[in-house]
Subunit: 313 residues, 2 copies
């Protein structure tokens, strides 16, 4: 349990020993968490309240039973396909594209992100994600909205050089999607106030590489499929278990002055402009920071700030 | 903890409260489980020993943090592609094909398997799977073998009519792969005796539809990639967490007299023989049973016996 200012925190073993346990029993646990959170806002002067250190945080769910990522910013998909001369089927505007990611190893916000080889084309993907309770099979978008219990930020690292060969095999991503990183904190949607509308987060998502601004597209603008629509899509043939994480895909705006949320998009734009990409993929030692600020300029989820490192080093 | 004859069982909360907890601490837990198992073989006359009822079993892991399924029987892939006039790239013999399945909702051996519509083309896929402990990134096939802690059977239901459209989108399976079912029991590899060699199970895998024999291909013959090789493949760019389930893919033999492990293969053979498939996909009310017997004719894992039902009924 972390206070709104992200300065203090408190263990709540009497309410729920883990985030998964809280989500498993959310209906009974949530009022108790809300009560404790309100008390923490009023005063941090309790013996069990500690200073909050994002550097000590595992991911909100260090392992999850389900991590499915959408491609909800269809303008991004259209752009990348156009760059390689491939038309995008019109159904991509109405039928969400999702892939399932590894969920047994989710990185904390300050963990080193290990990769075997920079020749794999290491890229960030800055995203928003939601965490659900149990969602029945065949849930409608209308009903899906109420199953969104938490919102968090994601760096869905991609290995761009491994993707073409893997997708050509026909079964989607696997090796090309290594362990995903999460923001220090997940928040309930009501914490977002007016910025949470239509199951979308209407705020800029800020990415920085080595401290330098890389992009701040708005996560609400150009999101073709809301989180509720993504949940409806993924429950067509199966239910979701509590603690399922549903991602937005790389946040992207038609307004290119907002920058990008992944190097692949930036490189595509460079290629279309000048015939070849100029910006390299990530190197060992590079740092990727991702954050979202509220209207008052305060960090909502805390910042991801992961260093790209050589695996095993 | 179930005895070898599958007649009696015992809760072991003092050793591990759940299968996941056992796998999380396997090195310390396994000797205690082995000792208790040996005692159970000697005598079932303890107050906490109960009759074993496979009908009461959830999946060995009712939810898992990772479920990745291979296509290790490449002859099957070759056959299905040949039937639709598509060549198979030669690399399929050396580079495993895997997909990640939903792991937050795994069906027990006697649970009803719910589907929305028989028009989705409901098919069984009888498979063998292994369950691992923590496996580091970049594990070699040689090192991978020792991370295999349990072996189990799987029905990896597929929705054949949804697959072509979904794969055409380029990101692999999602809606076309509903909740997977598991055998009542998972066993340690040593329980398989000589049948466990080279990280493969050298025994026939028996499938029945509505009580009628459907196939009994040998799971060791024609398995192009061993479980150790599959684990090496999936850890190229990431580690696996304890409790990861790695599947073989549909078991298939070149010797077609052994029958098939999925209707898609049988229908492909019918089409090649007579120009069109004769065997329909599964209907509501159909039962699919999957089992493996040891050399003495005893069931090793207990039988899956799931009924295909209309979702929500």
């Amino acid at each position: 349990m972390v206070n709104r200012a992200l300065t203090h925190c408190q263990l709540v073993p009497g309410i729920a020993p883990t985030m998964q346990a809280a989500l498993d029993e959310w209906t009974t646990v949530e009022p108790k968490l809300a009560e404790r959170a309100a008390a923490l806002e009023l005063s941090t002067a309790h013996s069990d309240v500690m200073p909050f250190d994002a550097g000590q945080c595992a991911a909100p769910l260090p392992r999850s039973y389900h991590w499915v990522d959408g491609s909800a910013y269809v303008n991004h998909v259209e752009l990348v396909r156009k760059a390689r001369g491939a038309d995008m089927p019109a159904t991509f505007w109405t039928d969400p594209l999702v892939y399932q990611g590894g969920s047994d190893d989710l990185l904390g916000a300050r963990d080193d992100a290990p990769f075997g080889d920079t020749a794999w084309g290491i890229d960030l993907e800055a995203e928003v994600a939601v965490i659900t309770d149990d969602v029945p099979m065949a849930t409608t978008p209308e009903a899906a909205a109420s199953h969104i219990k938490l919102v968090t930020l994601v760096n869905d690292w991609s290995l761009r050089a491994l993707i073409p060969g893997e997708l050509a095999k026909g079964f989607g991503f696997y090796q090309s999607k290594p362990a995903t990183a999460f923001s220090p904190v997940a928040v309930t949607p009501d914490e977002l106030g007016d910025a949470w509308r239509d199951s979308k987060v209407h705020l800029p998502l800020i990415s920085r590489i080595n401290g330098k601004d890389f992009g701040r597209p708005d996560a609400g603008v150009d999101m073709t499929f809301s989180f509720a629509q993504l949940i409806a899509h993924v429950t067509k043939t199966r239910k979701l278990g509590a603690g399922a994480i549903v991602g937005s895909g790389t946040v992207s705006n038609y307004d290119r002055s907002r920058g990008s949320s992944c190097l692949a998009e930036k490189r595509t734009l460079e290629q279309m402009e000048s015939g070849s990409p100029r910006t390299p993929f990530l190197q060992f030692g590079d740092r990727v920071s991702i954050e979202m600020l509220d209207a008052g300029g305060n960090s909502i989820f805390g910042a991801l700030d992961n260093r790209v490192v050589k695996a095993g080093s």
